[in-house]
Symmetry: D2
Subunit: 359 residues, 4 copies
């Protein structure tokens, strides 16, 4: 209700300010009997972590997760799984000058006005650091889904003006993690690096796109009419910091297509119903149809610039703001595991709920 | 949970199959003391209704809403407002041939597989007829919002290949309802009519886009981090039949922009904080900032075609399907009030919840 | 949230004022594939209905339920089941004198103060007539539970000073419905009739107790720690009009017992774990243990008296109020199906949720 | 949904097993701008803590709470308040013998059957240690309520056969905390000590009763019909370990009363509506009426006995169990702050929600 609890049955309560004691979460509704691979969770956290390459920030947050409950002898108990990630390496001096300032396109002004108080350090609750909790919970969800054969893969499709042209199924997605920018096409990846390098020189930042594919989702997930599977995915993804757009399947292209182009014809293959095309993006009437689910996400460029910008302070006085320390030129590569995590939570939630559809 | 209840505090429980006895809803959490204008609700229903022009279908559903509770002497009681719209003018014969058939890009196959049974007549629960309940509830929400000075306006920005080029603030939106297609630009509206006419001749259908603007939203609406205002809007809108994409503010364009282009600089005007540009779309950090909220929605073309398509039946046998009776070439103009209704429900819900942010 | 939606996964949205157009409900989350016995639902409604005997009121509400959705060819679709019961036989003249009056121990004053407006006719939303919607939804839940072998039985254990002494398992509960007061002991039933007769003569009213037993609940229902099965039952039952107390198993007697008296010892019988006694009331740690679940409920006497009482009106002026028309001397016998209905909704809800406990 | 998140708008996500790393909670929806008194929270935790007297256990859990988020410079931010209490002083050897055993009237059997796995150490998730998280969250709620003038007081009304006879308003409740058993009547308190002493000698345990009073609740709290204020209180209280019964106001006594005895007559005093008696317990039609809210709670005797009992293990073999270490003879005095905490959470939740009743 107050915005920090996510999910229908599988629920994540997330907490933490960027420079508070810790961030973390409580995952309720996770079923018992699942062996938890802690290394896999650390691997996912490291994918989100700053300082992975020269391009994507260089602060060094260790992001070590500690599990407090819900797992016993390596197996989930069916009770809430709580975890924390302590905030270390804080340099509050970097933020003192921002206490009374509203940075452009940040949440400073809106939080201050809504709540009357705020923790300005590092963006407080509005910091993307909060998404670490989502990555941990998503990693747990992935392990549950893996037991059902469901897997997720996301990749960077665009950084600024540089984008991949082909659809996902024409790419070799096994190359994604080999690219420092999580772009499966090596040439495009290099071009992206160049674009970032140019933006960095002028103290500017870049946005981009991520595409995510979910494989082997069984038919039947999704609760029409308001919790259509893609509607819940949209909410999950649009709730990630800096996301401005979401499309499922054909997306905005569908608006220019005719019905005869867009309709996915059914065939039966090996006694399984299948569609010849997949403009639907694996979801029809809000319910998964067994095809690949895929969606595209737009990220705006990072708001913190390394060059001066005009803004105002709480009293309305004009001030000049400029990022201190080191900040990401683009967050899109680091957002890949976050997108996967949120998608995994949605699919896992609906996977469980679908057990109740029939008597 | 099971998908038919929408909202956090202000909750709509929707029900009804296309060819059942009635569709309707129960709106809980609607505050007391609001004078209800029933004519305004009928007006909104008529905007959604088929048969408004030669282009957008020609079945003639009367869609008369009956209120059953929650209103006494014309004023809301604070108790649930229940309403029904009876299903009349049903021609079940039109659907008999579809009982065992999975129409392409419809919800036939997924419903059948999820539930094991379905009401195939007119799409059953998956029919867009269900959105009438949303329009009624949204009309109530609009009346509440109007008391707070908040208004919504949506319009058709694209039908198939024909689209408006300018941003919303360069259009004369007072012209929207004068166009049979709810396109505020008369020339584009005519071009859209032509495109529809051509599609109709070949038994084909068209998709399109709607842009919606919400004016005078006070600063502070939205519950970070998972119920960001645009995340809840995204879920609401993506849950409308045929929607494939959603973007807030700059949307997918943001992905190609730099931070210095995209940042909305703050200024103070008349002791009010204001931004010089509005790429944020009126929402920062998930919370409204007082600027116009605007978003764009993509609709796929109608799946029911007036020409034969190959498909399969329940047993996997190949069959040919073709729409009978009269169907919409495009639903986008009729979707305008539905988009507004869902947006109004989200804003009203957050308007109420925001009362709890501070002690 | 606003109080008119009940349940976790299986959710009932209830609506209606006593003298509005209709009362009814929308039951979401009811699984597909259950054959619905409409006569059984009418039977349950008739058990709740006034005018069943000389003692329990004599208004004649027909209470005919109409189903609007969610059932097709007699089978549940998995979509919301909506139903209405029209309010007929209203005699608003009976209530005109109460428009500005706060009747003692009614909800007149609290509703008026909370909402600023109210529908005073027949108690409006606070009328026990609202419980008809619960009985219908509960009757559906019972049919689902019956498929799993779970049954419920409630009976009147006390009217005023007249009470049954034995525990439920020493009674012949098959006699319950043969008694006009739903008391399975014929002698006690007669004594209760006499007590009611005496109270009626003086225009007074009586309270009482109901005991409810739920048989064949499988082990594992209940979600610790906050949705313990008996906690959800308590909320369900305490939300019935006029209920003042709830106890599970040993209840208040447990407070005076020692641990060695109260502990239920486990034994294994026919490879099934079983307890020798059942002070736990079939629930341990919030989870059903396979024994009978039983609980006791206290009802206060009806607040509307057929003799004059002092009260005040909205302006604080002293007034005299007295019931007009015919009112129940006691509602306890009519509350038996309501208690069963609410318990059935809770058990059905937890029955479904328990499917998600394990991977 | 899965039972570990409590509340409607103000939501507590609780986590932790007795002998895991830590227990704790996340409180979402707590409004911003409230100065937090940490000492008061420690005070409440100490009231719940074992080892307070010779009678109520003698393990020595330090129960030091650490706040991780949601508070900045001593003031609530409106973001989630997370806190943990580390589990120290664990003596797992005390529990090894219980790994495969089902202790009588404990949750061992039901957890094992529901989840297939369990953390048997100290009761795992079913341990009353979990209630520490409730006490912390309740202490926060109390601080919010105190700003609105609302206070809560609970006391021990019965231990085993020894009980207070007078109603709460005839007692000097300022004496409650001076009694080691939280019994405001010094003589009864001594008699209770004696009863405990006798039970201790035989290795037996005792149950009891708590009465809780909530003062200065404004008129209007409570959401009819399913979230009646006393229904939400009942769920909250029945969810506390060992609770078997709950009654509001007149409670079970109401069942034997007549309407003319039970009705609370309205009067106006100093322009405020008031009732001459308060059998309603401060709630009418589910909504607070401004009078004292009071309720009574029954606790069963502690299940762990210091004398041998027959039971079975997982394989159904007969075993003998007996508590090791030191256990409470009665938990009722320690449950006083838990009852207050849960009641405070409910009242605070409804206090916030009531802001939305009217436009």
């Amino acid at each position: 209700m107050a915005g920090n609890i996510f999910g229908n049955f599988l629920q994540l309560a997330s907490f933490g300010e960027s420079h508070g004691v810790a961030i973390g979460g409580v995952l309720d509704g996770f079923p018992s009997g699942i062996t938890i691979d802690l290394e896999q969770i650390t691997f996912e956290l490291n994918r989100r972590r700053p300082g992975q390459s020269q391009w994507v920030s260089s602060r060094n947050e260790p992001d070590a997760v500690e599990f407090l409950s819900g797992i016993y002898k390596g197996v989930s108990l069916g009770t809430p799984i709580a975890f924390i990630i302590k905030n270390t390496n804080q340099q509050p001096d970097d933020y003192e000058h921002l206490e009374d300032v509203f940075r452009p396109s940040h949440a400073d002004f809106t939080y201050q006005t809504k709540y009357g108080v705020r923790d300005h350090r590092g963006g407080g609750r509005a910091s993307a650091r909060e998404t670490s909790a989502r990555v941990v919970a998503g990693a747990l969800a992935k392990q549950m889904l893996a037991k059902a054969g469901i897997t997720l893969q996301a990749y960077v499709n665009r950084i600024g003006a540089v984008a991949i042209d082909q659809p996902y199924y024409d790419l070799d997605l096994s190359q994604t993690e080999k690219s420092p920018l999580r772009c499966p096409d090596p040439e495009i990846s290099s071009a992206m690096e160049e674009a970032i390098s140019i933006a960095a020189k002028t103290g500017d930042t870049l946005g981009g796109e991520i595409i995510c594919i979910i494989h082997q989702v069984p038919v039947g997930l999704g609760e029409p009419v308001f919790n259509k599977l893609h509607a819940d995915l949209a909410r999950a993804i649009m709730g990630i910091n800096a996301v401005k757009g979401f499309e499922i399947g054909s997306g905005f292209k569908a608006a220019s297509m005719t019905g005869s182009e867009h309709n996915d014809l059914f065939v039966e293959e090996n006694e399984k119903v299948h569609t010849l095309t997949n403009f639907s993006g694996g979801i029809q009437g809000g319910i998964s149809n067994g095809e690949d689910i895929y969606f595209r996400v737009a990220f705006k460029p990072v708001s913190t610039l390394m060059k001066p910008q005009l803004s105002i302070d709480k009293e309305g006085n004009q001030v000049v703001v400029q990022g201190k320390g080191r900040h990401d030129v683009t967050v899109v590569p680091r957002a890949v595991p976050i997108v996967e995590a949120m998608a995994a939570l949605v699919i896992a939630d609906h996977f469980l709920m679908n057990r109740m559809a029939r008597f």
